[in-house]
């Protein structure tokens, strides 16, 4: 089975985010980057499928030169080769624009399965994977926790609301967007990193893929979330207070 995993490099989870002068994007200088979390799960799912059924795992990413370490990390964890779409203006492209780039790079590969993370940790639109499927004319399913290969195609486990799951059968080739937490991630190893040095990373420029960069959705403004803290004192004896607290947690905070 030939699997392409589309991954994205995003600011590190612990990064201290600042908004740039124009207010349209984050200040990228001084930031450290890492592999998008749900993409890490997509890669893990692909690697486990390969370990079970054989085949090849190709990672595909679009971004500027700084994505190099993220590609090497994916190769170190076990991907066989990588395609890097060199594109410095990722931030100004919308999901359609990025999906067009990915689709153009995927087509000549003719994979059996394309996996992406459910959504990116930076923009969080959750669109790229499904648009990619549409552009490629392939069946797709989102929020996937687990993939099984069957004789005729795939059986996948989808996460629904409130702890429900759904089992779906799909033919291949297909596009799946993977939810975080379905697997246990493997750690990168020194041996993996050293072996990764000899693996193929093919770089293609965004211009070469000749896709339209004009966004249909334009980013107006980005802003840091306003921090809000409010404390409520619940009066009454412990029994009443506890009942009132449960009420609030259920219906106001909606965490129960």
């Amino acid at each position: 089975m030939k699997i392409i995993v589309a991954i994205k490099q995003v600011p590190e989870r612990d990064a201290q985010i600042r908004i740039d002068a124009a207010g349209k994007w984050i200040e990228e200088s001084g930031l450290q980057y890492a592999l998008n979390e749900s993409d890490a799960y997509a890669l893990e799912e692909a690697l486990q499928l390969k370990e079970k059924h054989g085949g090849e795992v190709v990672v595909l990413t679009a971004g500027p030169e700084r994505v190099g370490p993220t590609i090497r990390e994916a190769l170190a964890k076990g991907a066989d080769r990588a395609i890097h779409i060199d594109c410095a203006d990722l931030g100004s492209r919308d999901a359609l624009g990025v999906a067009r780039l990915l689709a153009a790079a995927v087509k000549p590969e003719n994979p059996d399965l394309i996996l992406t993370g459910l959504q990116s940790d930076d923009l969080g639109q959750g669109q790229t994977g499904v648009i990619l499927a549409e552009l490629l004319g392939l069946p797709h399913s989102s929020l996937i926790l687990h993939v099984d290969k069957t004789d005729s195609g795939l059986t996948v486990k989808r996460e629904l609301e409130e702890g429900w799951f759904q089992s779906i059968e799909l033919p291949t080739p297909a596009v799946l967007t993977i939810q975080s937490g379905g697997n246990k991630l493997r750690y990168a190893t020194l041996m993996g990193i050293k072996r990764a040095k000899t693996k193929e990373v093919r770089t293609v420029s965004a211009a070469e893929l000749a896709s339209d960069a004009t966004p249909v959705a334009v980013l107006e403004r980005v802003a840091l979330p306003q921090k809000q803290k409010s404390t409520q004192m619940i009066p009454g004896n412990p029994k009443e207070a506890a009942a009132a607290l449960v009420e609030k947690l259920k219906f106001e905070a909606r965490v129960l």
């Binding site: 590190e12 989870r13 612990d14 201290q16 890492a34 592999l35 246990k184 991630l185 493997r186 750690y187 990168a188 190893t189 020194l190 041996m191 993996g192 990193i193 050293k194």
Partner: protein, 628 residues
Amino acid sequence: MLPLSAILAEPQSFSLAEKLLLIVLVAASVTAFWLRFRVVLAKILQSKKDASFRLFPIGKRLWDFLWEVAFQAKVIRQRPLPGLAHAFVFWGFCAFVLVTLNHFAVGLGLGFLSPTSLFGRFYFDFAAVFALACAVGILGLFIRRFLVRPKWLGQQLSYQSGFIAFLIFLLMVTYLASFFVADADPATRVLWWVHTLALLTFLPIIPHTKHLHLVLSPATVFLSRGSFSQIPPLAGDEDFGLIAGTDLTRLVSLQAFSCVECGRCTEHCPAAITGKLLNPKEIILGLRNYLNDLGPASEEPLLGKYNPQEAPFQCTTCGACEFQCPVGIEHLPILIGLRRGAVNTGTWQDDYGSKLFLALERGSNAHGLPASERDKFIEKVALPIFDGSQEYCLWLGCMGGYDPKGREIIADFAHVMNYLGTSFGVLRKEKCCGDPVRRLGNDLVFQKLAESNLEVFAQSKVKKVVSICPHCVRTIQEDWKEFGTPPPVEHHSEFLAGHANKLPAKRSGSESIVYHDPCYLGRYRNVYKQPRKVVKLAGKLVEAPRNHERSFCCGAGGGLVFLGEETGERVGQVRATELIATGATTIGTACPFCNSIFRDALAEKGAAAPQLLDIAQLTARGLPESQT
């Protein structure tokens, strides 16, 4: 009863037949020795070269050799009675070198040391004193092994050891008996031959048994890596740690063959004591068996048949084994080397371990918490940010930056530094020092963390570092050296002891404080006096039964604190119980990991538990209120 002449009797002449027999026997004995010893030597020399080995500076090597081998200081100090018995045997052997050479020379009619000459008379008497001590010593060791039978010598009785003890005893007795007979007495000849045969039997047994340490351990002590728990840098692109025979270096192989199976390592190992699978002696013997069966060219894995994979991962890296070992075996580079082999290739699969590695691959701290939590803490207690102008960079560490109790220690220590008027600041971009991944053998993540932190140090122009965590101190000061030049690092006990004269003395003299030596401060850094000095400012110092270099681990080290519940009895529980039993009203710690382990252990004891305070907290508590 025979008269004591105080002159050694020797047969005056030997027939040709006797001389020929002697030559044949000596040749046979030496050949039998060599046939086996050659194999051992070849296995050591065929092992991979130690890429980072440097013979110089030689001064420390010579000192270690003198102290540990010649003076038997470690052997005696850590186990006084059997140690002294062993030292007598060893010194007896040394004194006997000249006697033995002369003994064989006499048999060929070439004796060079006349028992009646002034020097000869002196020397033979001198050797007789040692012979007596040696005989008593070996008898004592025999009684210990076969009658007392301490459990760390192993379940099975070693009859080889018994036979060797008998031979040594026979050697000494035949020598001593020769003072009670005359030269012409036929008994003299019998004694001479019995002594000869005992020696010639003894020689070939040496390389076949643990008595190989007679020949190897002086070299092992002299050639050891030199500093405590020195983890060698990986050599080249194909070195991932100890995976197979081909990864065993000459030092490791030499050490494996040197093991004398005394079990001191196991006796002091917190894992072995609390019923874990790990037994440091078995780890070394496993390697020796591997070398004997498969040799250093084998590609068979070291873990599996010869040692279980779980065992090295139960090590707290407390270093008691390495510290105790009388023959110079360095257990930590071996145990960590085995971990490296398993982790650097991904063969070690552990949910907690993976979680820790991923947390440090992607984030900044071992707890896997967002770095913003650390910023909030810095803001909350108003810690100044290091800007290059202050004297000290206060390193928070994962415990100081994220753990509630660790934060209390930092806050109190900062309070003391303010009181002393010492300028300091904390870094915004500090990451985990890499201690847990270093000890667990994840070289990839360790290198990333060390390099990233070294870069932050350089950018911020850090000149001096002070830390509340002995693990950070050790890792920054020693382990980071592989990737750059770390600034000098002080542990806060060293800082506080250095400023003791400016700190208010005993406020509550009645309080008794039992001080727990953290492994990474004591055995790793040799810092014992300073924290005690600080404790004495706050109250009456009480010593735990196991203290200083014999201190018993809390169980947190070696990354184990991040690996979930241990099997069997908890190491921390054992130590906490021991500390409580001293009756002290307070347990004084100097390591946030020990502190966190004891916090949990004490919680189980309920209200009766003593209070638990770091030395920084003990100090802060004693500061005048007006200054706070």
